[in-house]
């Protein structure tokens, strides 16, 4: 018997069938998918419409200007773009190693009875609202950072680097990065855990058979197999980090300034929109805030695209293809 007799023929997109439940379900599914694309397009269009006034008034200089003055109606997005990118980058740098290590612990090392309770605890962390993190941040984390961690960093050899200079207020870019890292930790951990669980045991057994130690097995067999999936988890976390508003605005200091020091206060795109939108009273002001929203949308897309590109160049293959 030939292969083609056993396997069904490739089904066309819309199967010609008079069975109405099949057809209507197919249309429903296609409709739902189109709806999502339509929503994204609508959001982009609405933002562009609202931003039109500011775009014509400031042009591309809006993206590089550091002035934000509602009294003279001059606006610029650069400090916010810088703040968003830097705080998200810090969050990823802190959260990804922690998250992957936790996922590894849960899949490779934890005793079976402990796994589910720890997983539940981590998922509860994801359920905590953003504002609670902000409150905890400003009342517990920031004083501790100001009086202990930042002092320790400033007095150690790290204090010679330009990243750790300047007066220590507690509220700072680094505090923002730490709070966001705690918030994206659950998503990175759970997705990484799923990825690591999907690594076939055959890979691990093969590595053991070749005489690898526990860490070597993890490094060679597990992490390299799961690399792309873990990268995907990091990108998911980054997506959440870029948009995080309430927790960040409470601990980042809300100062639209670009500074090399991580101890200096900063500002992010999402925070300034949340803070100033309700009271914005001139058309150019509102339009500039819309333009900031548009910039945030574009930055999110660009970062995701850059991540995909990086993935493609590093592994030589696209996402979704089986190794």
């Amino acid at each position: 018997m030939s292969q083609s007799a056993i396997l069904p023929e490739a089904t066309p997109l819309i199967r010609a069938t008079s069975h109405w439940p099949d057809r209507s379900f197919r249309w429903l599914a296609i409709g739902a998918a189109c709806m999502i694309l339509l929503l994204i397009a609508l959001v982009g269009w609405q933002l562009s419409r609202g931003a039109h006034l500011a775009m014509t008034a400031f042009g591309p200089g809006f993206l590089t200007s550091s002035k934000w003055d509602p009294v003279t109606d001059e606006y610029g997005a650069w400090p916010f773009i810088f703040g968003t990118l830097l705080s998200s980058f810090l969050a990823i740098v802190i959260a990804v190693p922690l998250g992957v290590a936790t996922a590894l612990f849960l899949t490779e090392m934890a005793p079976l009875r402990l796994r589910q309770p720890i997983v539940t605890l981590i998922e509860m962390l994801a359920a905590v609202p953003s504002v609670i993190f902000g409150l905890w941040g400003i009342f517990m984390l920031v004083p501790w950072l100001r009086d202990h961690l930042f002092q320790w960093i400033a007095h150690s050899w790290l204090g010679y680097l330009p990243f750790f200079k300047g007066p220590i207020y507690g509220v700072s870019m680094l505090a923002g990065g730490i709070v966001v890292a705690i918030m994206i930790l659950p998503i990175i951990t759970s997705v990484s855990r799923e990825i690591l669980r999907s690594v076939p045991n055959l890979q691990r057994e093969a590595a053991y058979a070749l005489g690898a130690t526990h860490w070597e097995v993890i490094r060679i067999a597990v992490l390299s197999y799961a690399g792309r999936g873990i990268f995907g988890a990091a990108v998911l976390g980054l997506g959440r980090a870029l948009g995080e508003t309430m927790a960040v605005t409470m601990v980042i200091g809300n100062r639209p300034e670009v500074s090399a020091s991580l101890f200096a206060p900063g500002y992010t795109l999402a925070s300034v929109i949340a803070n100033e939108f309700t009271e914005a009273n001139s058309d150019l002001y509102i339009s500039s805030l819309f333009e900031l929203g548009l910039v945030l949308l574009v930055v999110t897309f660009l970062v995701n695209a850059a991540a995909q590109l990086m993935l493609r160049t590093l592994t030589g293959q696209g996402m979704g293809k089986i190794k």
């Binding site: 509602p70 400003i138 507690g170 206060p265 925070s271 309700t278 009273n281």
Partner: protein, 337 residues
């Protein structure tokens, strides 16, 4: 089967009841957050006086209040800052500012032992400009002889969100310091030359509590309710005034109030006037669209200025002095419906 019939019958009677209950007049308003507590109290007290009208007020911010009354999606707006000429010109017909209550902005700080300190406009402006950076600066020491000031840096805290409180405060600073006027100016949000931003009164107060050596501004009501220390300020007559409701009423009494009621009362000339105070307005059209709603609104306003104002001080708001009340009542009487 019987159950579904019963539920259906109940639902129908419910619908009919709701339909008949809407013989009530509903008046919608939106705007400033600062007077929201006193407005809420007025609305609930007034429903006892006139049960046929209910008010629905959404505290979405002064900017939102101005936008909504211009778009006529609400029957009245509320704003902590007066509308700019540019915005007022967008109104389809004459839009009036009706002042209701006033409040003060106090300067709170966090220094060890929380001594009572005195400040004046120039020094305050220089602190917020970032020119004075230490509590032992000669300017502060000169104003506070005998007070043990710590040798620590000043951390300035301001509002990160746009607010009427910021408007009153920056209005005062622009009034007393030409340097501030050119560098930052006045507005619900400005480009702050120095300092950290906290969201809302709560954000600023939280920041103040957690940062030794910090100084910031909050509403008087908020400072009193949260037991924050605040400074005495030098007013235009040269006296150091502790912010209280009486000092705000004194400022109101001596402020110059033009015919359209859009005025600033910072740095008022009275001997007992507290210099950083401001009034909040209701925004109503001269010609009301709906005669029934218009009549109810005017009746409510007349009640507010005769009986409502008496409730203001219990909630730590300053009521309007009689001279101003008379003028406002006359204006309210001119609203056409």
């Amino acid at each position: 089967m019987l159950h579904t019939k019963k539920i259906l019958a109940l639902a129908l009677t419910g619908l009919v009841a709701v339909a008949s209950a809407s013989a009530q007049t509903l008046i919608n308003g939106a705007g400033a957050t600062f007077p929201a507590p006193i407005y809420t109290k007025w609305f609930s007290e007034y429903s006892k006086v006139d049960p046929t009208v209910t008010f629905n007020y959404q505290a979405i911010g002064s900017g939102g209040g101005q936008k909504q009354i211009l778009a006529e999606t609400v029957d009245f707006g509320a704003s902590d800052g007066p509308m700019s000429d540019e915005n007022l010109a967008k109104a389809p017909r004459a839009l009036w500012h009706i002042p209701t209550v006033a409040g003060a902005v106090v300067i709170s700080y966090n220094i060890p032992d929380s001594p009572k300190i005195k400040l004046d406009g120039e020094t305050l402006a220089n602190i917020f400009l970032g020119k004075i950076t230490n509590w032992r600066d000669p300017a502060i020491v000169a104003l506070n002889p005998g007070v043990r000031l710590p040798d620590i840096g000043i951390v300035v805290v301001h509002r990160s969100d746009g607010s009427g409180t910021s408007y009153i405060f920056t209005d005062y600073l622009s009034n007393v310091s030409a340097d501030w006027k050119s560098k930052a100016g006045k507005g619900t949000a400005v480009s702050w030359p120095a300092g950290l931003g906290g969201k809302g009164n709560a954000g600023v107060a939280g920041q103040l509590k957690e940062s030794p050596g910090s100084i910031g501004y909050v509403e008087l009501i908020y400072a009193v309710q949260n037991k924050l220390p605040y400074a005495d300020l030098k007013n235009a007559s040269g006296n150091y005034i502790t912010p209280t409701i009486e000092s705000v009423v004194a400022a109101l009494a001596t402020a110059t109030i033009p015919d359209d009621f859009r005025f600033s009362m910072v740095n008022a000339p009275g001997a007992d006037a507290y210099p950083i105070a401001g009034v909040t307005w209701l925004l109503v059209y001269e010609q009301q669209k709906d005669p029934v709603k218009g009549q109810k609104l005017v009746e409510f306003l007349k009640w507010a200025y005769s009986d409502g104002e008496k409730m203001a001080s219990s909630l730590d708001y300053a009521p309007l002095p009689d001279s101003v009340k008379e003028r406002v009542l006359k204006r309210v009487g001119e609203i056409k419906y």
